[in-house]
């Protein structure tokens, strides 16, 4: 097995051993899904049609914004970076392996919600499963790219948790997954469009994967990719 593939597998194992990461990738999203799914479908039966999407948005946002930056920050904000550097491991590799591992975890979590929701809460499923998962994949990549920037920029765990909440909470409140975005004041609805969760939720609801819907996500990915490249370059130059 090549070094890169071994690195992905290793990162996957490290994520499983990291309780903080495991909580945000699986435990909290799935417990929240079970708890809120029961409440939503009991008091607002119409949410059965969007429960898979809203819970996927919640879980992915939590994993990518609150969870994924932790191992990235632990690597790049500490002496681990130096160990990798002297060990001949290119500086961008830990970031890529972290993101691929996180992507797989979040896809698994999304799949669990996809299959469990109809069984447990009798929800409807997306018209086209392949399109749904293509949208989920795009949304995960976008959210992880934002999480990557957070993890690279912020070294302190407490500051990271605080900064992540500034993205996570508005994503929940303004994207329409907790209550319809149409009910929000215009200014807040407009602010909601700054967060990938809003666009991801819209695309999942329509079950249409088109360029117009993808554009905000692609722009976010591109901007974050540029930011990550510059940050890693600057971190390499310190030494």
């Amino acid at each position: 097995m090549g070094a890169f593939l071994y690195g992905i597998l290793l990162q996957w194992k490290l994520d499983i051993r990291n309780k903080g990461v495991l909580l945000t990738y699986y435990v909290v999203p799935l417990v929240f899904f079970g708890f809120m799914g029961k409440i939503f479908t009991s008091i607002m039966p119409e949410t059965k049609s969007t429960l898979i999407y809203s819970m996927t948005i919640f879980g992915v946002t939590m994993g990518a914004i609150l969870g994924a930056p932790i191992p990235i920050s632990e690597t790049y904000g500490s002496k681990v970076k130096k160990a990798y550097q002297i060990g001949g491991i290119p500086m961008h590799i830990p970031l890529i392996t972290n993101l691929i591992s996180a992507f797989v975890h979040l896809i698994i979590m999304s799949t669990i919600i996809y299959f469990a929701a109809p069984l447990v809460f009798n929800t409807s499923q997306p018209i086209n499963t392949a399109v749904h998962f293509a949208i989920v994949a795009n949304f995960i990549i976008t959210s992880l790219s934002v999480g990557a920037v957070l993890g690279l920029v912020i070294k302190s765990a407490s500051k990271l948790a605080m900064a992540a909440q500034f993205i996570f909470l508005p994503s929940l409140m303004l994207s329409g997954i907790m209550f319809p975005a149409e009910m929000l004041p215009k200014s807040l609805a407009a602010a909601g469009k700054l967060f990938p969760a809003t666009w991801g939720f819209e695309m999942m609801k329509t079950n249409i994967l088109d360029f117009k819907g993808l554009l905000p996500l692609l722009i976010t990915i591109a901007l974050c990719a540029i930011a990550c490249t510059l940050i890693i370059k600057s971190k390499r130059q310190i030494y």
């Binding site: 070094a3 690195g7 500490s78 550097q85 002297i86 060990g87």
Partner: protein, 287 residues
């Protein structure tokens, strides 16, 4: 003897602060060479410039051969197991996963232990194992025994001697005089980013033992007086201390002076400086 590492007029600054002020030295192939100095002397900065981890303002560094690095300020992910880290680093370096390195460093028993569960000594040995991947010609060790207990230090010293016997060139930094004296062929003492001594441990020992402390107690207190063969360094409530490298002439000169000044001698002590004291003298005062 051919040169493995050549450092010429190395200068490294952090903003306005010049940490390394134009140092030059060579390390011969197969030699154990130490950079010795107190904290902040510039040992780690020098090593990291040579290793390519730090950019430097001017100077020239040449390295003849492959090298492995064990630095003091490095870490690994908390949950990674020893064997996983070793395998990962081997794969990136396209090296065989040679578990004999693990065995020789006593890591076999802890190969499935996570990094966060390892003792300081075990972590040091793991980082040394990572530095030895691919059997490099040159090994850099930054304060390899710092924070280790007596047993851990002895084990690591044994490893360094074993590497030397295999013909490896080792450049290490330390602030432990005894460690350096027992392990190294040559030593450079750094002070404030400059080399204040360079030579073999025997030369260093000879230089250190050449300084003798002459402590004299007289009936009347002795005032500060400089002599041809000895230098006044201070006085306490009882004894006045002089430093000399010529004990015979110093004693004659001092006793004659006291006889002429009618100040009888009550006691005389002749004290050789310990290696540690002499090193501190060189490292702190450049003497």
């Amino acid at each position: 003897m051919s040169t493995a590492i050549k450092v010429e007029n190395l200068i490294k600054s952090y903003g306005q602060n010049t940490a390394i002020k134009g140092i030059s030295f060579n390390v011969n192939k197969g030699e154990v060479f130490a950079l010795l100095g107190i904290n902040g002397a510039g040992k780690t900065t020098t090593l990291e410039c040579i290793e390519g981890l730090l950019k430097y303002q001017s100077g020239k560094i040449s390295i003849d051969g492959s090298f492995g690095v064990q630095i003091q300020s490095s870490s690994l992910p908390e949950n990674i197991k020893a064997i996983e880290a070793f395998t990962y680093f081997c794969k990136w370096n396209k090296a065989n996963i040679d578990l004999s390195i693990f065995e020789s460093l006593g890591l076999s028993e802890i190969k499935n232990k996570q990094y966060c569960q390892m003792s300081t000594g075990q972590k040091r040995r793991l980082h040394l194992a990572l530095a030895l991947i691919g059997s490099p010609d040159i090994i850099f060790l930054d304060e390899p025994t710092a924070g280790l207990d007596v047993e851990g230090r002895a084990a690591l010293h044994g490893q360094i001697r074993k590497l030397k016997s295999m013909g490896k060139t080792i450049l290490l930094s330390s602030h432990d005089m005894a460690e350096v004296e027992s392990l190294c062929d040559r030593i450079a003492i750094l002070k404030d980013g400059r080399i204040v001594f360079i030579g073999t441990s025997r030369e260093l020992t000879a230089e250190m033992h050449s300084k003798i402390s002459l402590q004299i107690k007289t009936s009347k207190p002795l005032e500060k007086t400089d002599f041809i063969h000895s230098t006044f360094t201070g006085t306490d409530s009882e004894y006045t201390t002089f430093i000399t490298s010529n004990i015979g002439d110093s004693l004659i000169e001092l006793l004659n002076f006291l006889k002429n000044s009618s100040n009888p001698v009550v006691d005389i002590r002749i004290v050789h400086q310990s290696l540690e004291e002499s090193f501190l003298g060189i490292a702190k005062e450049g003497k």
